[in-house]
């Protein structure tokens, strides 16, 4: 059975695996083991993005490098300010462990976002017992970033085509993005609120019985949840044993 033949994990299962990996990593006390574990888990996250045929924009990788570097330097600076010595290898390892943990936090979230299409979230929600208004809100929320990004790019391209300068620096993009996106967000949020409100007011906000044949979760999802739970339990036991 090839990797592509395995049914894709439901978004909630991916989230459970991500959280389990993070909890496990944060519970590892030894800096060397934690760093190696973070590298391995980060590698798995990146591999899952590649296998899934998804991509992570270069700007996100630059943000990751900056943030992880910042965490490393800041942790060193905080320990140094607290009386530590920069020649102390233990202090360097503690900063490395912190940076490795944050790197996994970042890479895991990036890969989760990249490998979870909004459609998959919507499909999983369709087979849950959540109230309809709640489902609608979550569905709109997961599709919202793409809608906003799409609108922003369309408007910028149209303005550039008419001879306007393309915003390049972060300050230009922030002010330009806010000017363009705020009215878009206002109209979109109004639409979401009105739809959710209508569903609630018209009494359509009721539990729907979902037949088993429609449920989106598979045996692979159940396995993933068991695995995620086991990782957390083992990490807690290991932490208690090696105090």
């Amino acid at each position: 059975m090839s990797l592509r033949a395995v049914p894709p994990l439901a978004p909630s299962s991916k989230l459970a695996l991500y959280l389990a990996a993070l909890i496990g990593l944060y519970l590892i006390r030894d800096p060397v083991v934690a760093t190696i574990a973070a590298l391995l888990l980060g590698g798995v996250a990146i591999a899952s993005v590649r296998i899934g045929g998804a991509t992570i924009p270069a700007i996100r990788w630059r943000a990751l490098a900056f943030f992880v570097g910042w965490v490393f330097v800041m942790r060193l600076a905080l320990d140094f300010a607290g009386g530590g010595s920069l020649r102390d290898s233990g202090m360097l390892w503690l900063a490395t462990r912190q940076a490795a943990r944050v790197a996994l936090l970042f890479v895991g979230a990036l890969s989760l976002i990249a490998t979870t299409p909004a459609r998959a979230v919507v499909e999983e929600l369709e087979s849950t017992r959540l109230p309809r208004s709640m489902r609608l809100l979550v569905m709109m929320l997961v599709q919202y970033p793409r809608v906003l990004r799409g609108r922003y790019e369309q408007i910028v391209e149209a303005q550039v085509a008419r001879g306007a300068d393309r915003p390049r620096t972060i300050i230009q993009r922030v002010s330009h993005g806010a000017r363009i996106l705020l009215p878009v967000m206002q109209s979109e949020l109004n639409a979401i609120g009105e739809r959710a409100g209508l569903i609630h007011l018209r009494g359509l906000d009721v539990d729907v019985v979902i037949p088993d044949s429609v449920r989106s979760r598979t045996a692979v999802d159940a396995l993933a949840l068991v695995f995620a739970g086991s990782v957390v339990v083992i990490a807690i036991i290991a932490r208690l044993i090696w105090r």
């Binding site: 800041m74 607290g82 997961v142």
Partner: protein, 173 residues
């Protein structure tokens, strides 16, 4: 606002105006949903690590709603007091996340304050908490006043969409 404050490295956040406004208009559950929704949306749009502060955002929403219910957004000076109370809630709930999850680094302007308190001999957790207590009051007072102003600026017709909002904003039954 939070995006702009972060981009120019201000030592304040200004990222909870919407949460406080939702709390004043629609009560605790909507405020919590807006708080968690904002951090999740921010995770996808701006920073993949923002979700770690979902609990803080939810508690800010809850605290704002409780204060709004007790009439803290009827007059401006009470909104300032509400801002100070929310600041303590925010500092107390975000300090463990900042210290344990990020090791005291948030890549924002408050990191300089954390470093300052650490160099004064405080523990990492205490330094993060103190930097939060130092920066949050300014942030949350501005946030509270902005939310109070926005809520007061809404027409009665708009307020009629939100049960109890009129009482929470104007103090009328």
């Amino acid at each position: 606002m939070g995006w702009i404050a972060s981009a120019i490295k201000l030592p304040i956040f200004l990222d909870s105006i919407g949460i406080t406004l939702a709390a004043i208009l629609a009560g605790p559950w909507v405020a919590i949903a807006v708080g968690v929704g904002t951090t999740l949306l921010g995770t996808v749009l701006f920073s993949p690590v923002l979700w770690a502060f979902s609990g803080t955002a939810a508690l800010i929403g809850l605290a704002s709603a409780l204060l709004a219910e007790r009439g803290f957004y009827v007059v401006w000076w009470k909104a300032i007091i509400a801002g100070l109370i929310i600041a303590i809630v925010a500092a107390a709930t975000s300090a463990p996340v900042s210290a344990v999850v990020f090791g005291g680094a948030t890549a924002g302007g408050v990191d300089a304050l954390t470093l300052l308190f650490r160099s004064a001999g405080n523990t990492l957790m205490k330094s993060v908490f103190l930097s939060g207590v130092s920066s949050e009051p300014v942030d949350k007072v501005i946030t509270s006043l902005a939310a109070w102003f926005l809520a007061r600026s809404l027409s009665r017709r708009t307020l009629a969409w939100f049960p109890g909002a009129e009482r929470r904003i104007r103090g009328t039954k």
